[in-house]
Symmetry: C2
Subunit: 182 residues, 2 copies
DNA sequence: CCTACCGATCGGTAGG
DNA sequence: CCTACCGATCGGTAGG
């Protein structure tokens, strides 16, 4: 693992807990035992560090949620594995502070710029892929389906993070089962 | 309107856009045309300012969503007005940066302390009230119902804030209609 | 990769 | 309510 990768591994963790703005160069460098300017040199600006953290988190999401479903045939089987994998990735606490993307989106949705754009494009691609599988699976209204599944998954994350409700994930799964094609 | 109320009106607005941590004393005081220490004196600490902003936002939520429903009889009629009022409050952009509470919860769910506690207690009381009306309305599983409605409303807010999808609110209403008792 | 520094801003205080 | 200040930390730069 390169030094840059080691920095980003920690950066993603910190950002999921404290937000992408709480990801300060001073804090991150002292935690990793290198100088501020040493860390800074890997990215060139705080914004580049934030963008790199978004990309690193996206790669983790791909490995944890998307990749395992690619063995399944397109349509209903893959859609089901996507949905349950999405809930499972939150339940397993892949990021210590909950869903990196939900936290980052809430933080940056009111701040126009490259970080917001990267978050929107990444989440957009994932939601489009879900809608595609829903269409192949014969779901009546794929966009409505994706809207509801997205809401339920994010709702479970929010409940778990703020209220420590362990059963939030089971509730999301139950509601999603009702939406999935039989 | 007292000076303190004027400060909090602006504080709630800023916090909904930039977060409760972005609510800096320096920024807020310069926007309002008074000195930092002048503003500081009204609250005593940044944390007290944040708590006061949460309370001010809660009062607005009560006026916008809860109060109009109190004319309706308990049970199904009041539940329906609660749910549609909740969506409507986001659609009307009562807070310029979207749902104050969703943003604040995402920001503070990983930071133990009085602000997180205040947010959790306030949202908890609202969700309990929804569950109570659902029970009176004869909803089969009131807790599951509230989980799903909460998710759908927050999902619409997230979609609208990040993707500018105008139809997110209509999608939430459609899904909620399917859950409400006939 | 480092030390040493820059101006700006942070939350907060002293004193009036 | 104000001016004037405190130490700490921010993102970032110079120079090696």
């Amino acid at each position: 693992m390169s030094r840059r990768e080691a920095i980003l591994e920690r950066a993603v963790e910190v950002a999921s807990e404290e937000g992408l703005e709480g990801l300060t160069i001073g804090r991150l460098s002292s935690e990793l035992g290198l100088s501020k300017s040493g860390l800074f040199g890997h990215f060139g600006s705080k914004e580049e560090l934030q963008l790199a953290a978004v990309d690193a988190a996206s790669a983790i999401f791909f490995d944890e949620v998307v990749k395992p479903a690619l063995k399944e045939p397109e349509g209903a089987p893959r859609l089901r594995v996507y949905c349950h994998g999405w809930v499972g990735y939150l339940e397993r606490e892949v990021f210590s502070g909950g869903c990196f993307f939900a936290a980052a989106a809430a933080e940056f949705d009111g701040r126009p710029g490259p970080v917001r754009d990267r978050l929107r494009d990444g989440q957009g691609a994932w939601l489009d892929e879900l809608a595609k599988q829903a269409r192949v699976a014969g779901v009546e209204d794929p966009k409505q389906f994706v809207f509801e599944v997205h809401a339920l998954v994010q709702g479970a994350n929010a409940r778990y993070q703020l209220f420590d409700e362990q059963d939030a994930f089971a509730r999301a799964r139950r509601a999603i089962e009702r939406l999935l094609p039989a």
